[in-house]
């Protein structure tokens, strides 16, 4: 009797085990396909890299090789917005420690750029045969594990408040504005700048799938991820904290399906040396992701999840996203980001500072909630 009644709480298919697995599998098919259709190798989707490219096209940093308005990111937010409205889940809320989320976003980006990828790309790199990703994934798990210790110790970001609908619309509107900018100032062959936007002539920023393909896949993933609450950080966190495998099954589906898709497309190249947009400094592949993982855990979501939350009206997640974009500016302006040659000149200092900042936040925000 209980079983029958309890099932009524799961009207949303995507919130079921098979729902989250199908969403992970969807990403696992289309991320490698995006590579085949033009995105950089092992970078079909990388939230950190793509937000960094957006920071570049806007001129927030001048690293000439990573400047492009990635439509996937725009699609993630707008797809989530559409899903949230379609299922009456759009709920404007804000006010839960926004400055903390900004700082966590900035350091999450810096950590991710020391490794060269967000958790999504860490998995895609692994599924493409890049052995260096193993150290990144281990770092990610380590950082999240530290985050769960803070969560168990009472760490929290405080409550958000329900607010004006327009508050929840601001990040989606910003993304829409970015898309409009891209149409007003489209890429011109051989030109480094089109109107106000910078466009890479070489390097990963110059390698991309056709705009509409990227946008459409981004919209689909945004829609599905909003429905399923797909989160790479949450997958590991929930397993560590509660031994729950719900989100984890989606992430495993992503890795397995991406691996199979890469095999079929001839994109699986196992090894450590000369992997695309990657370096072999294992300690800092690990260390960068410890920082990113801890920052994601303290902020309550992986970079993808923060975009989906922002799409459904979460103004605090939106601040995290802005923190990541600004963090990318710092990462390249200050020589913190890695390159295939290895870590940047100030990368180590930034990881140490970032870890210190995260520990400060974790230790000082532990007031129990009444």
């Amino acid at each position: 009797m209980e079983g029958g009644e309890s099932m009524t709480t799961f009207k949303n298919f995507f919130a079921t085990r098979w729902g989250i697995i199908s969403v992970g599998a969807f990403i696992g098919v289309f991320a490698p396909l995006l590579q085949k259709w033009g995105n950089p190798a092992n970078m079909g989707i990388c939230v950190a890299c793509f937000e960094r490219d957006i920071a570049g096209t806007l001129g927030l940093h001048r690293a000439a090789v990573v400047q492009y308005m990635r439509p996937e990111i725009i699609g993630f937010v707008l797809g989530s917005l559409v899903a949230a409205y379609a299922f009456k889940e759009f709920r404007a809320r804000a006010g839960s420690a926004p400055i903390v989320r900004f700082v966590l976003g900035a350091f999450a980006m810096i950590g991710a750029l020391v490794f060269l990828g967000c958790p999504w790309r860490a998995m895609l790199r692994f599924a493409g045969g890049d052995g260096n990703a193993i150290f990144g994934l281990l770092g990610l798990i380590g950082g999240i594990w530290v985050g769960t210790l803070f969560l168990k110790g009472g760490y929290n970001l405080g409550r958000s408040q329900k607010t004006h609908t327009s508050v929840g619309w601001l990040l989606p509107l910003t993304m829409l504005g970015f898309l409009v900018l891209m149409f007003i100032f489209p890429q011109v062959q051989g030109q480094e700048k089109s109107g106000v936007l910078f466009y890479s002539q070489k390097g990963p920023g110059s390698i991309h799938a056709p705009l509409l393909v990227s946008l459409l896949i981004g919209l689909c993933i945004g829609f599905l991820a909003q429905r399923s609450r797909f989160c790479t950080m949450g997958a590991i966190r929930d397993f560590v904290l509660f031994r729950q495998t719900h989100l984890l099954s989606g992430v495993i589906a992503l890795v397995v399906v991406a691996f199979i898709t890469n095999l079929i497309l001839g994109q699986f190249h196992p090894g450590f040396e000369k992997q695309p947009v990657a370096h072999t400094m294992s300690l800092w592949n690990f260390g960068g992701m410890v920082l990113a993982g801890l920052a994601f855990a303290l902020a309550g979501g992986c970079p993808g999840r923060q975009l989906f939350l922002a799409g459904e009206g979460d103004g605090d997640a939106a601040v995290f996203v802005l923190g990541m974009i600004i963090g990318a500016g710092f990462a390249h302006n200050f020589g913190l980001a890695s390159s295939p040659d290895g870590i940047g000149p100030n990368g180590i200092a930034a990881v140490v500072m970032g870890l210190g900042s995260c520990l400060f936040i974790g230790f000082t925000m532990r007031k129990e909630i009444a």
Binding site: E2, E5, S6, T8, T9, F10, N12, A15, F87, E89, R91, R93, S96, L151, K152, N156, L157, R159, S160, Q161, K162, R229, C231, G234, R237, D238, L241, F242, Q244, H246, G300, G301, D314, D316, I369, A370
Partner: protein, 71 residues
């Protein structure tokens, strides 16, 4: 008399942590959890069902009240 956990306005995974703590503390009985997002509703329902609690969802204007029961 039921115990109430107010997890409104809290982001992941706080609502689940608070509910989980209370579920362990009570062992059985009636527990009301207030949440305001679909995600928290699903997460707490999943946790409760896994631990053998029956879940009834009451929707009010701006939040959900999850009534968890275990004999």
């Amino acid at each position: 008399m039921s115990t109430i956990v107010d997890a409104r306005g809290l982001s992941c995974p706080q609502p689940v942590i608070l509910a989980d703590r209370k579920i362990r503390e009570l062992g059985k009985g009636v527990l009301e959890v207030l949440v305001d997002t679909e995600t928290s509703k699903e997460n707490i329902s999943r946790l409760a069902q896994k631990t053998g609690w029956n879940v009834e969802v009451k929707k009010t204007e701006d939040h959900y009240c999850l009534v968890l029961r275990k004999e």
